[in-house]
């Protein structure tokens, strides 16, 4: 069998736009890797016909660091801190995924304190991630003010992280066997204060953007992704839920203490940008209510059950754990030979990598402005795509 391997140059072929009486031609244009709307170094090659986008070809790899290869050379505990650098806005959830995989493989049973702390931290992280996303969406659609409001409120949550962990973005806090440090004595008070502060701010977000008729016109019926197509495209997280598939691992396959809290899964009905927008806004509210249910009931107990200096060898075979980050399902797949404390192969099922390809499906035959809204509503973090 001869398999044809193509290159980017072969991929970008132009065709004359046929159904136009004028002598027009489609053209390619690079959006990125340096572009204000592509959230880092994402490069999108657009095939345009005037203002109309005919095709979106994501060109990746601008910050490919080979984290999976490095993972083969590092212990599981060392690999945890690399996952911070992937989806840096869900850093702790990435840590958690690796820890969950290791704990499941070693059958470590965690105490409630660890689970509570992890869940609260993950939800805080989700809130700050969605707040940042909200601001960036506003900026992508031309309103700069929401960007700073989102950042302003997010900073208070990163303050909580800094107080307990010492870091604001790449924490490396959740470790196999527990959490790195016990929570700071001020943690509970500070979280309560921030939740109290942030609740009216979410209403303000609604006043500023959600209720705004321009935003609604920009988002509604833009980038529609049907449920079947979304499933087939393997998108997860808010993007999938906005298409009407209520797949939220926190509810359907609970980990942590998600089975002990009441919350509702926000879903959309059409799968357009408006649904994706609204689902995230509602998720902030749900996360806040989850934290409120948990914050007063953190039980006592040890916070680290596995000795950090001890060699961690997973049993032979393949191990997989998945959880719901702010952007979708993150799966960690590790194959161990049962002898070495380093994996034979470690693979991240990254939510962003699987989500980014839906931009083409969403954007075909709509305007450049819609493309910006679509990319923004997928909420991609490029380091997690490239890994």
């Amino acid at each position: 069998m001869a398999v044809k391997v193509s290159t980017l140059d072969e991929r970008i072929k132009l065709t004359d736009s046929a159904d136009s009486p004028l002598d027009t031609q489609e053209y390619f244009i690079n959006m990125g890797p340096q572009h204000p709307a592509t959230h880092g170094v994402l490069r999108l090659m657009l095939k345009l016909d005037g203002e109309t986008v005919r095709e979106v070809i994501p060109v990746l790899g601008y910050i490919h660091r080979g984290i999976e290869k490095i993972g083969e050379h590092s212990t599981y505990r060392q690999f945890v801190h690399l996952t911070d650098r992937c989806d840096y806005l869900s850093a702790m959830m990435n840590n958690w995924a690796v820890s969950l995989m290791v704990e499941k493989a070693l059958k470590v049973e965690l105490n409630d304190r660890i689970e509570y702390i992890r869940t609260i931290m993950a939800e805080l992280e989700r809130i700050q991630s969605h707040m940042l996303w909200w601001g960036v969406l506003g900026m992508d659609l031309g309103a700069f003010t929401p960007f700073l409001y989102g950042f302003r409120d997010r900073e208070l949550i990163t303050d909580i992280f800094e107080e307990t962990i010492g870091c604001r973005l790449t924490m490396n806090y959740i470790q196999p066997g527990g959490v790195m440090d016990d929570i700071h004595p001020n943690f509970v008070d500070r979280v309560k204060k921030v939740i109290e502060y942030a609740k009216p701010k979410i209403d303000e977000y609604e006043e500023l953007l959600s209720g705004n008729v321009i935003i609604q016109e920009r988002l509604r019926n833009v980038g529609v992704l049907s449920a079947d197509k979304a499933t087939s495209l393997g998108v997860t997280g808010p993007v999938l839920r906005a298409s009407g598939v209520p797949l939220d691992l926190r509810r359907v396959a609970p980990y942590g203490v998600y089975d002990k809290v009441n919350f509702e899964v926000a879903v959309g009905s059409v799968g357009d940008c408006w649904d994706r927008y609204w689902v995230r806004i509602e998720e902030i509210r749900q996360s806040m209510s989850m934290i409120e249910q948990l914050i007063d009931n953190i039980p006592a107990g040890k916070t680290m059950l596995m000795k950090p200096a001890k060699k961690t060898v997973l049993p032979e075979g393949s191990h997989y754990a998945q959880l719901e980050t702010a952007r979708g399902i993150l799966g960690i797949y590790a194959v161990s030979d049962g002898v070495s404390d380093k994996p034979v192969r470690i693979h991240m099922r990254s939510p962003n990598y699987n989500n980014v390809w839906s931009a083409d499906e969403m954007t075909r035959d709509s305007r450049i402005g819609d493309l910006v809204a679509n990319v923004s509503s997928i909420d991609i973090v490029v380091p997690d795509i490239d890994r």
């Binding site: 053209y27 709307a37 203002e51 003010t145 409001y149 302003r152 920009r218 305007r367 450049i368 402005g369």
Partner: protein, 372 residues
């Protein structure tokens, strides 16, 4: 210049003696050509200096206002509360390398910003800022302004085309479509005022409002015309929510993607001065220009209002509208291309036409709010 501040303290309306610099030049030309040249030079220098000073001040104000809308402080380092930040930026821009892209159309690339700034300057000279501060008082003022303001888009189109950059071209094409569309609405609402005032001359339009501003006197019509004018001229200014020709999150920078240094600052300056012109025009046509706030019949009140110099009245009204435009900019997201066109052709244009008919009816029946 002094009477700009103090000269009209006891102005009795009806006998405003408007002597502009161009009038002085014309008078002096016959007797003393050197004096005429002096007046002309003074006018040029005044306009140039005013242009750059006003531009820098507006940029500073914009940054400060934006910052406080966003819970920030804005420029704080250069000078007291960053007052000299614009000066520093201007120096930086002047000293920057003037980059011309390799494959750009060199001549057009170089002159495009000049087109923009010339159009702006031509508009600026017509604005009556106080009874004695107006460079030229043309009898076709309104038509002249709407003519030169559409001249500015030529600079943008040339800039986008000559940059040889697809983003620039997209921005320029958007700008062209946007200008042509929104120019109609601007003109329609200007026509409403000329109908009311019965004159195209800006100074006469101001004088015609001494019994009440057109925004009040025309019942709803004046108000509608005012808002149509504001929306349409915001679109003509390329300011958010209609900043599609630049649209930094879509087109990276639109028509001025390839510009840097001095030439970029020309576009930048032109944009801010255009904002001033639009606001000043709105103030002149709808809010009575430098005319104090009068209510027909209340002589005491009117007398007290007259104490405030007309220059301040004009500045205050213009500032208010500038602030309104900034406020909108820092609140709203941007429209999409087709939505922008829809707003003009399906909403503003019909409204403008109906409004014009209503204004004509109003003028014929003389049904003003302040008929005395």
């Amino acid at each position: 210049m002094l009477d700009f501040l103090f000269g009209q303290l006891v102005a009795t309306h009806a006998t405003f003696d408007v002597v502009t610099l161009s009038d002085r030049t014309t008078q002096a030309l016959a007797e003393d050509p050197w004096l005429a040249a002096g007046y002309a030079l003074l006018g040029l220098a005044g306009v140039g200096g005013f242009l750059s000073l006003l531009g820098m001040a507006l940029i500073y104000v914009e940054r400060k206002v934006a910052a406080h809308f966003q819970c920030r402080l804005g420029p704080m380092r250069v000078g007291w509360h960053g007052m000299l930040q614009s000066v520093a930026d201007a120096i930086k821009l002047l000293l920057k390398e003037d980059i011309i892209p390799d494959r750009a159309d060199r001549v057009l690339f170089l002159i495009a910003p000049v087109f923009s700034i010339i159009a702006t300057t031509l508009g600026l000279i017509l604005i009556p800022m106080s009874p004695s501060l107006q460079v030229v008082d043309l009898n076709i003022g309104v038509i002249f302004i709407s003519a030169v303001s559409s001249f500015g888009v030529l600079g943008i189109l040339l800039a986008g085309w000559s940059s040889n950059n697809k983003w620039s071209l997209l921005g320029a094409m958007r700008a062209g479509a946007q200008f042509i569309s929104y120019e109609i609405s601007v003109t329609l609402s200007l026509l409403v005022v000329t109908l009311f005032a019965g004159s195209l001359q800006l100074s006469e339009i101001v004088q015609s409002q001494q019994d009440g501003w057109w925004i009040w006197r025309g019942h709803i019509v004046g108000l509608v015309a005012f808002f149509v004018f504001l929306i349409a001229s915001t679109a003509e200014l390329n300011r958010p929510p209609f900043d599609l020709p630049e649209a930094e999150s879509e087109l990276t920078g639109g028509f001025h993607t390839e510009y840097s240094g001095l030439r970029f600052s020309f576009f930048f300056l032109a944009e801010f001065i255009n904002m001033f012109i639009a606001s000043a025009l709105a103030a002149t046509l709808f809010l009575g220009g430098w005319m104090p706030f009068h209510i027909g019949g209340l002589h005491t009140f009117n007398g007290l209002m007259d104490l405030i110099p007309p220059g301040l009245w004009f500045a205050g009204k213009t500032t208010f509208i500038i602030f309104l435009i900034m406020w909108v900019r820092w609140t709203f997201p941007r429209l999409r291309v087709d939505q922008l066109m829809r707003l003009e052709w399906k909403f503003l244009l019909p409204v403008g036409f109906i409004n014009l008919f209503a204004a004509a009816t109003l003028v014929i029946t003389k049904l003003y709010f302040f008929p005395w």
